[in-house]
Symmetry: C2
Subunit: 417 residues, 2 copies
Amino acid sequence: MARFHLPPEQLPTAWFNLLPRLDSPLDPPLHPATREPVGPDDLAPLFPMALIQQEMSPEPWIDIPGEVLDILRLWRPTPLVRAERLEAALDTPARIYFKDESGSPAGSHKPNTAVPQAFYNKQEGINRLTTETGAGQWGTALSFATRQFDMECKVYMVRASYDQKPYRKIMMEVWGGEVVASPIDDPDSPGSLGTAITDAVRDAVTRDDSHYSLGSVLNHVLLHQTIIGLEAKEQLRMAGEDLPDVVIAPCGGGSNLGGLSFPFVPDEGVRLVAVEPASCPTLTEGSFEYDFGDSAGMTPLLPMFTLGHDFMPPSIHAGGLRYHGDSPIVSKLVKEGRMEAIAYPQGKVFDAAIQFANIEGKVAAPEAAHAIRVAIDEALACKESGEAKVILFNYCGHGHLDLAAYDDYLHGRLIDA
Amino acid sequence: MARFHLPPEQLPTAWFNLLPRLDSPLDPPLHPATREPVGPDDLAPLFPMALIQQEMSPEPWIDIPGEVLDILRLWRPTPLVRAERLEAALDTPARIYFKDESGSPAGSHKPNTAVPQAFYNKQEGINRLTTETGAGQWGTALSFATRQFDMECKVYMVRASYDQKPYRKIMMEVWGGEVVASPIDDPDSPGSLGTAITDAVRDAVTRDDSHYSLGSVLNHVLLHQTIIGLEAKEQLRMAGEDLPDVVIAPCGGGSNLGGLSFPFVPDEGVRLVAVEPASCPTLTEGSFEYDFGDSAGMTPLLPMFTLGHDFMPPSIHAGGLRYHGDSPIVSKLVKEGRMEAIAYPQGKVFDAAIQFANIEGKVAAPEAAHAIRVAIDEALACKESGEAKVILFNYCGHGHLDLAAYDDYLHGRLIDA
């Protein structure tokens, strides 16, 4: 086991913008009513102008504000870890590295974008943000971030998670977040990310002091997450590696996947792999078309792989991956063959999670366990072929608040879908 | 915020033994029946000879086995963090550092001794360990450690915690631990560490394949924890500091306190402070005498501060600090004036925990929050006096599985005892 720490002064000071580096321009979002391309003014009721500009920016690099860096330094740079005990247990010639994003305040990669989103809103005089949360990771991150700038935060939490994960709700309240179950107008519905987005957007547009904040899917969100991949590149060099052969991350809306993988997109020969749950197979079985981000059709239409905005995913444990759509940039990369996508049922995912916990001592979030599954399979393929590949995956969060899922697995109650 | 990482090759390779450096010898443990000093043979039914020798060793340094170092490297060296945002918020000239032990598999300092204890038992052919756990930290650590050496682990968990902390039980089961509520013969009792020790010892002495393992109090346990203070000393040098002015840690049985502070005992002028809960004030209000480690009087008698082995502490949230006795070495240091002790009611402790979470982004274990409380008070005293003291405290564990306690605090249900 070796851990590679970047010195504090090597914390990246600019985000990596993939937009101007794409082979062809991204198709624009369309207005939900007119189906015409939306302009900055259409988005202004929901987002501050700084984020709207980032959403469409042609700049290859975008500076990270000093006030944001000051807060990111609470947990960044995050460690890159070589999983040597896992390599030995698998008896593989592969070298397995993971980027450990679990040490952040929220326990995942989510605060990487929550902090700049809160900052830019505050700069434009907004004092209250609304958002949705599924597994609870995003709501926790935004509660932490808004607290740093003395802002209010209202979180619409998918009711199924609200009922099953009381600890996540408490963690949001520690940072002053106000948490309610969604959908608010149907207490009998378990809810979905789509319905919770509808609730949060409706709240924000009806109050002058409020904006809406999204934890994934949009370009500016994935932009903020590229700090993960930028650090990992430097740390692989510290570890004596050139480029990885394969980069693996779970994919719900695409934010941790984009964060780790986008800086490697220009590096030909580096395979990029998105892992999704078999029960919500957006990239592997969805269709590529314009669709709404929410269930009620209030958001702009985005060009993406989608299962349909009224798709109600089954209540699997990786709540962060239960989303009908996907980031337009990730969708484009998959459509054009630059990125691969693979889906796994959660039984095989938890097999890998338990193996990882036993060998490496880390209890992974169910989302992160999807990447562990594929990293192990790639390493086993290397054992067969004798190739000493370099495998990099995103350990995007810990599973300390997801232990009920492990309980289900250990006692045969996990629905293996 | 600055974090100081020791390079992997500077992981300490020997433990610091305070025993031969004490001004006068420690009084010996006495046999529970004869009240004569116990010899190695008396302890052999419970512990392997290697640990019994460490318990009484005159050697100033004891080598850490390579097999143990290989596992400790999964999370060690742990970071030393300077809490610069906390300093700024308090407007203090003090410099506040904490040693972050929360990144271990169990989320606390406990695996530092669980791993060598499992190793030495396995070396002597023992394949099963029994133990007790209060808050659940220790049972989790031993479950992880025994799994590393293909051993069985049976954990007697204080019933009050067993009922209130289902996530802790699941985490033990992830690593193969078998968990039962204690006292096993009285399902109506909430239990205590004293009764759980009785259950675990009784199990171990009646089976040839089993030994007993204790997570605190004993000399060899605190010896294994000195790796914390040894690393911290080196890291303070990296940070440009000489010695700290004050070293602060919570105290239940004394293991995280001894681990951080013992390497500083020979450094005159370094204040050492033990923090305990006002509702279980062993060092501040107990009497110094020989007493049993468990409630039924099965263990040897130890010379220590004690509230009486039949003391039943109230059910406060810092379960790891609810113990009637204390480490004999810690007790001696306090009795002789080398170490200070202070007690706090849990309301003031959680005030500090929330302040720390908001400013530094870390949700502390209630045990760790006791140290945070005193570190903040010391820093505020420096503001008054204008002194730029160096304050070091032990962030001995995260509170991710203790969020119910935060919920009680936030909603006015915390009993402020």
